[in-house]
Symmetry: C2
Subunit: 425 residues, 2 copies
């Protein structure tokens, strides 16, 4: 076909653009995606990777006896936002893009991306960055451990690392795995209230909103020898009211729960104390020599859409609307049964939306109310629903975490299975 355009014509970038569009044109019936680095078929074309419970070369076949995936927190609910913004969110990485170890200022940190993050927090009003330092990590995962190292005293009694159940298990497993002479995991904060011996440094993980239950939380322990690591992964208008900007000494954020790009492994920490900041920089140098330049470039492009789109609130409106809708549907289903209950969250004024907002947590913290239902996970599993056991979060197994941030397919299957389960009782 002959095409005439009075416009710019691609030269060397044509091949990359064509490859990307060819893969994007593989539709997978809306129940899967084809990726540039996907399964390559005989004809050397990437094929569809289907959502759970869908199969076939174009993902059109539904497997009716398949369990709902409500396990991991893959934030696929934001995918439709990015397919809608295809033109503004794509980024072409040239073969020679930033081959060296550092940016032109000798650091591992893109200054432009840092500026964008500061602008973003100012716009959303969820964190104060003024007068603070920012470091980047390969996901918040890396930063959680970097923070534990940075807050631990060297060559002294090991710091005691604690958290309040129910809590995200990585705090414990990571601290135990790295097994440093400088710190050790010492269980739940409840064991240490009024017992924070001043000969020890305590490092308290505080997750607000909390994973798994979505509650806004605060430090439990008190004292000059208590430092806290504030995991703010879910402190976005997607999931929670923003009563005021967070101003903690050490806050950790991740792009995973903001734009939905868990696979990019990009997070950032906002740090008040300069010495702690320097120790975190040392950790990042020793561990990975900073964060992949490709991940930083992509984060920049995604934040460009978030910050400079036609509608400044668009991604937040999209995320909030999707999540409130899901919570409403879930609540309606669960309310039909006395056997199950959901966590109680209170609506609250949100400074971002400038009104009291509806509930929209990332996870359901479901409880099997009957005393004899000691393993709620198994009850759900038997009904074709895969969540995560309460014990994973150091809580009672009357509880199960159900992920609400996965794809619409996953959520729809979850609701169907729950409706069937609830109807039985």
């Amino acid at each position: 076909m002959m095409v005439c355009r009075g416009e710019w014509e691609a030269t060397w970038s044509r091949k990359a653009a064509e490859e990307a569009e060819t893969v994007a044109a593989i539709e997978c019936s809306g129940h899967g995606k084809a990726y540039l680095d996907g399964v390559v078929l005989k004809g050397h074309q990437p094929g569809c990777e289907c959502h759970d419970c869908y199969t076939g070369s174009d993902c059109s076949k539904f497997l009716s006896n398949c369990s709902a995936n409500a396990g991991s927190g893959d934030p696929y609910f934001l995918e439709p936002f990015w397919t809608k913004h295809a033109a503004s969110s794509g980024v072409l990485v040239s073969g020679w893009h930033r081959m060296g170890y550092t940016y032109s200022d000798g650091s591992y940190i893109s200054q432009l991306l840092l500026d964008y993050l500061q602008k973003l927090h100012a716009r959303v009003g969820n964190a104060i960055t003024e007068g603070k330092h920012i470091v980047f990590g390969s996901g918040s995962t890396q930063l959680l451990n970097a923070a534990v190292y940075a807050l631990s005293p060297n060559h002294s009694s090991p710091a005691k690392v604690v958290a309040t159940a129910p809590y995200y298990p990585v705090y414990r497993t990571q601290t135990q795995f790295f097994n440093s002479r400088d710190f050790s995991y010492e269980g739940d904060t409840s064991s240490w209230i009024n017992k924070t011996d001043s000969n020890y440094t305590f490092i308290e993980f505080v997750t607000s909103p909390n994973n798994p239950d979505g509650k806004l939380t605060k430090e439990v322990l008190e004292g000059d020898n208590v430092k806290s690591i504030n995991d703010r992964a879910y402190y976005w208008p997607h999931y929670t009211p923003i009563p005021s900007p967070a101003d903690d000494d050490l806050m950790i954020f991740t792009i995973s729960k903001l734009t939905g790009h868990a696979g990019s492994r990009f997070g950032w920490a906002i740090i008040k104390d300069e010495a702690v900041y320097e120790k975190m920089l040392t950790y990042l140098e020793m561990n990975t020599m900073g964060v992949s330049r490709e991940a930083q470039l992509r984060a920049l492009k995604l934040l460009d859409v978030v910050l400079h789109g036609d509608d400044e609130k668009e991604i937040f409106q999209f995320a909030y609307s999707t999540m409130t809708n899901r919570w409403k549907r879930l609540k309606e289903t669960i309310s039909k049964s006395k056997r199950f209950s959901l966590q109680k969250l209170s609506p609250q004024y949100c400074t971002f939306f400038k009104r009291e907002r509806d509930l929209s947590p990332a996870y359901a913290w479901l409880k099997c109310e009957r005393e004899e239902d000691k393993n709620c996970y198994e009850i759900l599993e038997a009904a074709g629903i895969n969540g995560r056991q309460g014990s994973v979060y150091s809580a009672d197994n009357h509880y199960v975490r159900l992920s609400l941030i996965r794809s619409q397919d996953d959520f729809d299957i979850l609701i169907n299975k729950l409706n069937t389960l609830v109807a039985k009782h």
Copy 2:
């Protein structure tokens, strides 16, 4: 301008393609680069980032009283290869590319990239991958530490980590920084010959070719309780003859010294023992939840050019020819003086090029021959040459490492400064 083409036309990818080409068209006089995420000027265009000793908005101004940068191992010498292969090496990352935590097989590892790495090693003949396991890391940096953790016994006497001077300092600094109860850094292998108490596990770092001196090396310690981590970063035809494929129990490679993309933070380890492999996977999960999807996609694209270009040996020929040329020029300069000498390397048959090849090490390991020149670094520094002190590599300060793998500008300035220095004596 009206353009008519009988070809495919970009739709949503046009913006990304145009942005990439616009930035690429900023020429920076051949003494710098403009990047998509570069310094943004008032007109909102990224500007030139100049090579060392060049300045001005287009990097055209040479600073004659500026020191040669022969310090860090940024592999910029490969940049011209990628600008030449602009069309085949660019990759367009869509906004929705791989948002989830895992690939479709539930792992953090792209199977297609893994296949490419196996093909690459088979083609180059520098490592045996058959019957072995491969893990990916955020640069070899992360894998070095993952390997130390994986080889250390748990809940037993800490493993003793050792290396043979001169050695890459990260082995020591990283092991000391993480300060695990499971291992400790115990200095040079020379202190442990015939003293490897079988109550302890020894972990020996072996770098071959060695950084800084380019020599092919082997384990020094012997015994069933000695495990080795073989850092094979430089075991490519760029820098060394390949006498035979490496078949060590644990080998670490990095894209940094293969394609020159240090900033991507992508490395891989080839592991014989399944239990060690599983422990390294656990480390990678606990530390960063795998490697950025963007970095993996880009590595795939770059390896596609390496493997499937018109000329199968092209990148190796390019790298070898650049590096032999640099070594010849350096040798010619240094041979004019008795005050300085270079490491002695022997030409050897290379199974890749199928002939005895010339020398082309990544670094010069320069020695100040006079006894009184106890700080060779300062002598060079006074002559406007910034290398790295011998003591950084746990060697005598009569030695200095000079990086030969930086940009042509850096190398040319280095040779000029050396010629002036040598002419003085």
